[in-house]
């Protein structure tokens, strides 16, 4: 067996207890980032389609700033910003930064799916005497949500990988641990290869689960 496989395997065997813990942290960051991002995204998507010029302007400013600046800058900015007013662990500062970042992208996903629903659906609903709120919550949004699932899943995978950036504020997730391992062992190549494998396997598992879920939705509707 080539030398490199042996050393990578050695590094893997030596480090997996620590990496399993770091994986849990990465998954927690991802989960919080996505859930918070979904809540924020939904609120801003509704603001964008609200018809109120002020709400639309607020949503547009938020989306423009978030999409126009690097995530790593947002993490630093939020971390040092939050610490100024409220003492918070770096884990939570990082998770919130991921959520705020995701919110902008998820808002656009929701807005696109809501506006992509055939206007005839809205008309049919209103012609039956349903008001705007009922039409949105019972007819338009459930259909939009189904359409949002593939892009949301994609965003989920992006978040998983982006969560590596919170290493910059010292959260002990996968990348951060790999970075330390590389420095301590003088085996940077093997260490980062192991890091890459962890992310790759996680993404593959998510992709598989997502496909199962999408297929299930298709079956439900057929």
């Amino acid at each position: 067996m080539p030398e490199i496989f042996v050393t990578v395997f050695d590094v893997f065997m030596r480090t997996y207890p620590g990496f399993l813990e770091a994986t849990v942290v990465t998954l927690q960051l991802t989960a919080i980032g996505v859930i918070l991002g979904t809540v924020i995204g939904l609120i801003f998507a509704l603001m964008k389609i609200s018809g109120s010029k002020i709400l639309q302007a607020i949503a547009n400013i938020y989306i423009t700033i978030i999409r126009g600046t690097p995530l790593i800058v947002q993490i630093m900015f939020l971390y040092f910003g939050i610490v100024e007013i409220y003492t918070m662990s770096n884990f939570w500062a990082g998770a919130i930064a991921l959520g705020v970042h995701n919110g902008a992208y998820i808002a656009e996903i929701f807005r696109g799916s809501i506006q992509g629903i055939d206007p005839g659906q809205r008309e049919a609903s209103m012609s039956l005497g349903m008001d705007r709120r009922q039409t949105m919550s019972r007819i338009v949004f459930p259909q939009a949500l189904r359409r949002s699932i593939p892009p949301l899943g994609n965003q989920f995978i992006i978040t998983l990988k982006d969560s590596s950036l919170v290493y910059i504020i010292g959260v002990a997730e996968i990348f951060s641990l790999g970075n330390r391992e590389a420095a301590q062992s003088y085996q940077p190549f093997e260490s980062f290869l192991v890091v890459a494998l962890y992310y790759l396997v996680l993404v593959m598992i998510f992709t598989f689960l997502l496909r199962l879920y999408e297929n299930k939705l298709d079956v439900d509707r057929a």
Binding site: D118, G120, Q121, E123, A124, S125, M126, S127, L128, G129, M130, D131, Q134, R138, I139, P142, Q143, R146, R221, A222
Partner: protein, 240 residues
Amino acid sequence: MIIGENIHKSFGDLEVLKGVDLHVKPQEVVVLVGVSGSGKSTLLRCFNFLEMINEGKITIDGHTVNPKKDNLTKIRAEVGMVFQHFNLFPHKTVLENVIEAPITVKKMKKEEAKKLGAELLEKVGLEDKADVYPSKLSGGQKQRVAIARSLAMQPKVMLFDEPTSALDPELVGEVLQVMKQLAEEGMTMVVVTHEMKFAKEVADRIIMIDEGKIIESADPKNFFENPQNERTKQFIQLVE
């Protein structure tokens, strides 16, 4: 039942309705005909307030509607509408489509709504399709579900906007049959259609709309045999 007086409607600079007066009596079946772009569908949509008129007034069942003050949601619930493209809710089963509005709008109990839904589906001949999703239905079946869905709100009048125009020819009959049955039961109906045979057999009155105005209004016999307006004569020649 529906009285429209001096109805004007514009989209931007384009004036689609230029002062239409129409009085639909209870239990009357009025068929609106005209070339495409004449404004007949727009007129129908104004009666359901899917389009807001720019001028004139609309009275429904004795109540003159003030779009600014009145609860349009409530008025729409009393005026059923069937669309050219069915607009069934794809995420709901056939039965769920039918009982959605009675439950959310009328706050009907689910059991009661289901019973009503089953009766209406039987009426349109689709009781065996209650639990399937619309994507599994043919166009004709979809339109019959749409009619049942509208009827579930027990509307005082039904508007049909080219209900058979999107259907394959062999599926048109089953929808017209249901509409004919409704007419026989005394439902007030306003129908935009190109089905002249239906107009002849079922309509009490046929109204020709041209360039945003009513140019002919007569019972079917007079409409087809003795049209007064030159444009109506041309139209009849075209469709027959």
